[in-house]
Amino acid sequence: MNNETAKELLRKYRENTCTEEELAILESWYLKYDLKDLAQLSSEDLLAIEATQAPKPVIEAKTASLWQKFLVASAVVLILGAGLFFYQNKTSLIKDNSPLLSSSEESRQGERTATLALSSGEVFNLDLKKKGIVIRAKKILYSDGVFISSVRSVEMLITIKTPLAGAYQVTLPDGSKVWLNAASSLVFPATFEGSPQRKIAMSGEAYFEIIENKNHPFLVQSKSQEVEVLGTHFNIDNYEDEPNVKTTLLQGILRVGVRNSTASNKSVILKPNQQAILGPSGISIHHVDAENYKNWTEDLFWFDKEPLESVMRKISRWYDVKVEYQVSDRNRGKLSGDISKNEDIESLLKILEQSMGYKFKLQGKKIIVSE
């Protein structure tokens, strides 16, 4: 075969004189042509690829020191990277619409199940009939002992997400207990061993009973604050659509720190029956009957002189309904007391009508409030 055209093409490429079309031919050929079939890559080859060092220091003296820094940086990054992500993932490529990110696509309204997500990408739907889960000895189980998954890597992060109208209990790897209210999330590592602190993150509302360990401080992070505890029972109300973050202490001692704050008052220490309220103007302490703030864990709605809108927010979360207001002032009213959450919504609305003097009408998944 006459190889002239091929040779000619390559010569022109060397000399940078290819036309658009000649370039197109070469680049298209490039896509198709393989000198070595990858099936032949031996395990030694793969190891050699994995062991590739950082780029050799460039000969010029002035750039040598740059590469020294680079060598260290990339080695550290690799170690950290390997540590963070090392585990066996048999599932396919994590795509942009991976389960971990599903909440960014669909509205919470549609969710009916509590979910457990592992940083490996696996997601499990949790049975709401079982009250909670336990993480123990590298296993995740339901509180009645039924197996859900093992923890294949100690660096793994676990995320629990509750739907509207669903609460769940989690027993953390150190035995501490967390009750998650509706529409809330909790993120924590598979084990607290090896970290200087027991650190978890949450959104929504949760009640905590933390095992005391003076040598291993427990931290709860949420969007705007960080709570540090030694061993204690407390509640954090951090729903996005509530104006303030409320942290209520039942027993023990707590420090509540404000994140990203320019305010002078950056952290407060709470004693039992004190509540820290974090709002736009900073953080303040109030005296309360702390027991009440734990009522939701026992399936009770509890209201403390709350105006209409605040009451309806709680109701809409728990029953997963929307609220339409046909009233002149949503901030009127001071409802106090408790109501069982297990009431069906019609009975509840009747009770509210009598207590608050508003009219509540249920239309499908919507409550219309009028005067």
């Binding site: 190889n3 896509l31 198709k32 940086a73 585990y87 795509k95 960014s104």
Partner: protein, 193 residues
């Protein structure tokens, strides 16, 4: 430094332009696997492939000031590598298998005329090599690239990120709570653990 692992290519490129070594390190670790495997497939020589890749990154670093604002980083790396490999092929002194194969290809007269289509094909080709990577390298690539993208979208949307790259919120968002998903908290954890 841990935080950069989840940064998107765009964020890392911006840091790279500022001369950030750590960002460069993350980019190197993110891409070297797929690039090395790809170069090996084309050249048949592991050492040669390794040299090319290292050269590629050395050049990326020295040209960091000149990187355009809207750089498609992976596309840039892939195209540059291809051009370097074509260069090697074109400079082969002895008659090689390349010539026969190229000649056959020319004769068939079936090639992709659109440059962008070729570029996309190239990306696809290089990235499918990720499945052939050793376990750990595969993880670094997948997690950082895919989750880095989403991290950026979510961080942009919620202004929660404390990244040095400024993200501007694109108008008010409906249903903030539904967007405040698991990933945001993963984000917290990675910054603070």
């Amino acid at each position: 430094m841990t935080t950069y692992l989840l940064y998107s290519d765009e964020q890392l490129a911006a840091l790279l332009r500022q001369g950030n070594h750590d960002a460069f390190g993350v980019l190197y670790n993110r891409y070297k696997g797929v690039l090395h495997v790809h170069a090996y497939k084309k050249l048949g020589d592991l050492e040669k492939a390794k040299d090319l890749i290292q050269e590629l990154f050395v050049n990326l670093w020295s040209k960091r000031d000149a990187l355009p604002e809207t750089l498609n980083l992976s596309g840039y790396l892939y195209a540059t590598l291809r051009n370097r490999i074509l260069d090697v092929v074109a400079h082969e002194k002895v008659e090689t298998k390349y010539i026969d194969s190229l000649q056959n290809f020319v004769t068939e007269n079936n090639f992709i005329t659109d440059r962008h289509v070729r570029e996309r094909e190239l990306s696809r080709l290089i990235e499918q090599a990720v499945n052939e990577l050793p376990e750990r390298m595969r993880e670094v690539f997948i997690m950082s690239r895919n989750e880095g993208k989403s991290h950026k979208e979510i961080a942009e949307a919620l202004e929660i990120s404390e990244s040095t790259v400024k993200n501007h919120m694109k108008g008010a968002l409906k249903n903030l709570r539904s967007k405040l998903g698991l990933f945001t908290y993963l984000l917290f954890i990675f910054k603070f653990f």
